[in-house]
C-alpha cells in the first residue's frame, strides 16, 4: 500500500477532534412540551460474559413499552443503545456518552455491579433519571442513593436474607456458607448469616474463593469432612452450573442439603438437570409463579425474544412499568422531576413476580419466594418472606 495509493489528506487525522466538535453542533430540536420523543438510553452488556442477561433486559423493557402502545407519558420513544461489555474501565465514558452526547432523558442499566456503580455516580452528578434493572450492589440504593436513582431488581442482601429462616424451619442449625470473594458474594452471604444467626443458627465455616474461579473440588471435600447440617451458597451463571454438578459428583447431593440465593439455579436449571434436585433457593421470582401477570408475560416474552423469560427479563419489564407510571403521572414532562420521582417512588408496580412497592431508598419491597428444584423443573413452595425491604444501609434519603 504505497502512499500515493492513499487518499487520506495530511490534515484529516490530526483535526479529527475539531471535526468531532462540529458534529455536536446540530441544533437540538426545540423540545415543545410533550411532542419531542423521549430518549431512553439502554446501557447494557450485549457482549462478554453477561450478554445473555443484558439482551433479556433490553428485550423485556422494549416489550413493556410496546405493550403501552410504544408511548411513555404520551410521548413516542427513541432508544439509544450502548454495549457496556461489562467492562468497568469504559463505564464512566459510556454513561457520559449517553447523558451528555446523546442527551438521553432516562438511563436504563446495567448488569455488572462495578459498571453499575460507575454509571450511578455519573447519573447522580448529572441528575438523570436512572433505573437499574439488575446489579444488586447494596451501594446503589445505599450510600449512593439519590432521588433520581431507582432499582427494579434487588439488593444482593435481599434474596439471601429469608433463606436463613428457611434453613432454621427445616431444623438445620449448623451451616457452611460459600461464595466468590467479591462484593456480591459478601453481601448475599451476609444477608443469610444475619437471619440464620438471629434465629439461633451457627455458621461453622465461611469459604470464599477468588472470582470467577470454578475449581470447587477442594472445598467440597472440606465440606464433606465438616459434615454440616446444610450448605448455603451464592453463585450465578457458569459458576452456579458447575457448582451444582460438582456438588452432586462429590456425592454430597442428598447427604448434605444445599440452599442458595435463587441465582444458583436460575437460568441453569435445565442444563443442570437431576444434579440440581433438592436444591432449595429463595428469590423474588420463580418461572412457575402462577399469577395473571406472569402467565401473560412469559409467552409474550418468548414470542419477542424466542427464548424463555427469566428473572432478568422480569426486572427489565418492571423497569418499563416504573418509567411508565412515573411519566404518566407528570404527563410526559421529564422536567417535573419532583413529581416524577415521587410518582415512581409511591407507585405499586404490577409485576410477573407479584405486586411490589419501592422503599425509601428506591429499592423494591417485594415478596421473596421459596422454590425447590426437581428434575430440571422448579416448584414454588411458598413465600419465604412477605414484602421484604432492603435496609438501605448508608442511604440518608
Amino acid at each position: 500500500m504505497n502512499e500515493n495509493g492513499l487518499t487520506t489528506t495530511r490534515r484529516t487525522i490530526l483535526k479529527g477532534a475539531a471535526a468531532g466538535a462540529a458534529v455536536s453542533f446540530i441544533p437540538t430540536r426545540f423540545a415543545i412540551g410533550q411532542a419531542a420523543k423521549l430518549k431512553i438510553g439502554l446501557m447494557l452488556p450485549f457482549s462478554g460474559t453477561f450478554a445473555s442477561p443484558g439482551v433479556n433486559i433490553a428485550e423485556a423493557f422494549k416489550l413493556r413499552i410496546a405493550e403501552n402502545g410504544g408511548k411513555v407519558g404520551g410521548r413516542d420513544v427513541e432508544y439509544i443503545q450502548v454495549d457496556d461489555e461489562s467492562a468497568p474501565p469504559k463505564a464512566k465514558d459510556n454513561a457520559a456518552k449517553l447523558i451528555t452526547k446523546d442527551k438521553v432523558d432516562v438511563l436504563i442499566g446495567t448488569v455488572h455491579s462495578g459498571v453499575a456503580e460507575a454509571m450511578a455516580a455519573v447519573a447522580r452528578e448529572e441528575g438523570t433519571l436512572t433505573i437499574c434493572p439488575n446489579a444488586g450492589a447494596g451501594k446503589i440504593t445505599g450510600e449512593m442513593c439519590a432521588p433520581n436513582i431507582f432499582r427494579s431488581s434487588f439488593s444482593n442482601w435481599q434474596p439471601a436474607y429469608p433463606c436463613g429462616k428457611v434453613m432454621i424451619n427445616d431444623g438445620l442449625k449448623k451451616a457452611v456458607m460459600m461464595s466468590w470473594n467479591y462484593p456480591a458474594g459478601h453481601e448475599a452471604t451476609g444477608g443469610f448469616k444475619e437471619n440464620f444467626v438471629a434465629n439461633g443458627g451457627t455458621v461453622v465455616k465461611e469459604i470464599f474463593l477468588d472470582f470467577p474461579k470454578v475449581e470447587f473440588q477442594a472445598y467440597l471435600t472440606e465440606i464433606a469432612s465438616i459434615k454440616p447440617d446444610g450448605v448455603f451458597v451464592f453463585f450465578a451463571g457458569a459458576g452456579a452450573l458447575k457448582f451444582i454438578q460438582d456438588y452432586a459428583a462429590a456425592g454430597l447431593q442428598g447427604k448434605i442439603p444445599l440452599y442458595g440465593s435463587g441465582f444458583i439455579t436460575d437460568g441453569v436449571l435445565k442444563q443442570a438437570g437431576a444434579a440440581a434436585d433438592g436444591i432449595k433457593s429463595t428469590l423474588h421470582y420463580a418461572d412457575a409463579l402462577d399469577n395473571a401477570m406472569n402467565k401473560k408475560f412469559r409467552p409474550a416474552f418468548k414470542a419477542v425474544a424466542n427464548k424463555d423469560a427469566d428473572v432478568y427479563a422480569v426486572q427489565g419489564y418492571d423497569a418499563g412499568t416504573m418509567l411508565i407510571k412515573g411519566m404518566d403521572a407528570v404527563k410526559g414532562d421529564i422536567k417535573a422531576t419532583k413529581a416524577l420521582y415521587a410518582a415512581i417512588a409511591g407507585a405499586t408496580i404490577e409485576s410477573p413476580r407479584g405486586n411490589f412497592t419501592l422503599g425509601k431508598n428506591h429499592n423494591p419491597v417485594q415478596d421473596i419466594y421459596l422454590r425447590i428444584a426437581k428434575g430440571g423443573e422448579e416448584t414454588v413452595l411458598g413465600i419465604a418472606h412477605k414484602a421484604l425491604a432492603d435496609p438501605g444501609k448508608g442511604c440518608s434519603m
Binding site: A51, L241, Q271
Partner: protein, 289 residues
C-alpha cells in the same frame, strides 16, 4: 488433611495439570517451531468446548461430538494458519501479539453469533457419570479420572510422535534450527501448517474432553490462555518436556494454593513462575537465550 483428602487434592491437581499440558504443548510447539506467539490459542480451547456442546446436542453422544469435533478444529487451525498466521513468520513478536489479539476479538464475536452467549452444559456419558466413594462422604468422579487418563494417553502419543516418527524428527529439527530445515529442502509451509493445526486440535480437544466438567461459557478461552503462558514460560519455550513439567507444577500449585490460601490464590501461580525465572530466566528446559 487426612489421606483421602490429600489423595483427592493430588488427583485434582494432576487432572488440571494434564489439561493445561494439552493446551500448553500446542502453544510451545507453535512457538518453538514457528517462532509465533499465539494469543488466540485460548480461543481454540473455547471453540473446542462449544463444538463439543453443539455436536453433542445434535448427535446426542459425547463420543460422536468429539469424533466430529476434532477434524473440524484441525480445519479451523489450518484456515487460521493460511489466512492469518502465515503473514507473521518474518514479523517480530510485537506484530504477532497484536494480530493474534485481533483474532481473539473475532473468535469471541463469532462464538456469540454462532452459539449465543448463554451458559451451556454437556452431559457426562452414563457409564462414566458415577463417583468412586472414598470415605463415607467423600467420593471422586470417575469422569475426572477418565480425563486424566485420556490426557496422559495423548501426552504419551505426542511423545512417541515427536521422538519416534519422521514427522517428529522434522518437528524437532524445525525447533532447533528453522533455516536449516528449510535449506534441506523440506517443505516448511507444510510443516508449519501441520504444527499449527496439531496445536489448535490439541487445545480444542482439551476443551471438548473438559466441557462436561467445566461447562461451556463465554470467556473460558481467555482464562486458560494466561495460565498456559505461565506453563510454557516455566517449562522453557519450544520444549514439550518443559511444558509437561510446567503443567504439572502449575496444576499442583493452583490446586493446593486455592486450598491453603482461598483468597489471593490467584497470585500463587505467578509467584511460582517468578521463582522459576529468577533461577533460570530461559525456563527449565529452554535454550539459553
Amino acid at each position: 488433611m487426612d489421606t483421602s483428602y490429600l489423595l483427592i487434592q493430588t488427583l485434582n491437581g494432576l487432572q488440571y495439570g494434564f489439561l493445561l499440558f494439552l493446551v500448553a504443548s500446542g502453544l510451545t510447539l507453535i512457538f518453538g517451531i514457528m517462532g509465533i506467539i499465539n494469543l488466540a490459542h485460548g480461543s481454540f480451547f473455547m471453540i473446542g468446548a462449544y463444538l463439543c456442546y453443539w455436536l453433542a446436542e445434535k448427535t446426542g453422544s459425547l463420543w460422536l461430538a468429539i469424533l466430529l469435533g476434532v477434524p473440524i478444529s484441525v480445519l479451523v487451525g489450518l484456515v487460521v494458519e493460511r489466512f492469518g498466521i502465515v503473514f507473521l513468520y518474518k514479523r517480530d513478536h510485537l506484530y504477532q501479539v497484536l494480530l493474534t489479539y485481533g483474532l481473539i476479538l473475532i473468535f469471541n464475536e463469532l462464538r456469540a453469533i454462532l452459539w449465543g452467549n448463554d451458559v451451556q452444559s454437556v452431559k457426562i456419558p452414563a457409564f462414566l457419570a458415577a463417583s468412586i466413594p472414598l470415605t463415607e462422604t467423600q467420593a471422586y468422579p470417575i469422569y475426572r479420572l477418565f480425563i486424566s487418563f485420556v490426557c496422559l494417553l495423548l501426552a504419551a502419543g505426542l511423545y512417541v510422535v515427536i521422538q519416534r516418527t519422521k514427522l517428529g524428527m522434522t518437528i524437532r529439527a524445525g525447533a532447533a534450527n528453522r533455516e536449516m530445515v528449510q535449506a534441506l529442502g523440506l517443505d516448511i509451509n507444510r510443516l508449519f501448517a501441520i504444527v499449527f493445526a496439531l496445536g489448535a486440535a490439541l487445545a480444542a480437544f482439551a476443551g471438548m474432553v473438559n466441557a462436561p466438567v467445566s461447562s461451556v461459557y463465554p470467556g473460558m478461552g481467555e482464562e486458560i490462555l494466561i495460565v498456559s503462558f505461565v506453563v510454557v514460560v516455566i517449562g522453557g519455550l519450544g520444549s514439550i518436556k518443559g511444558a509437561f513439567l510446567g503443567a504439572m507444577m502449575i496444576g499442583m500449585a493452583d490446586t493446593f494454593g486455592s486450598v491453603l490460601l482461598p483468597t489471593g490464590s490467584g497470585t500463587v501461580v505467578y509467584a511460582v513462575m517468578a521463582l522459576v525465572l529468577l533461577w533460570r530466566p530461559q525456563g527449565l528446559f529452554g535454550r539459553a537465550i
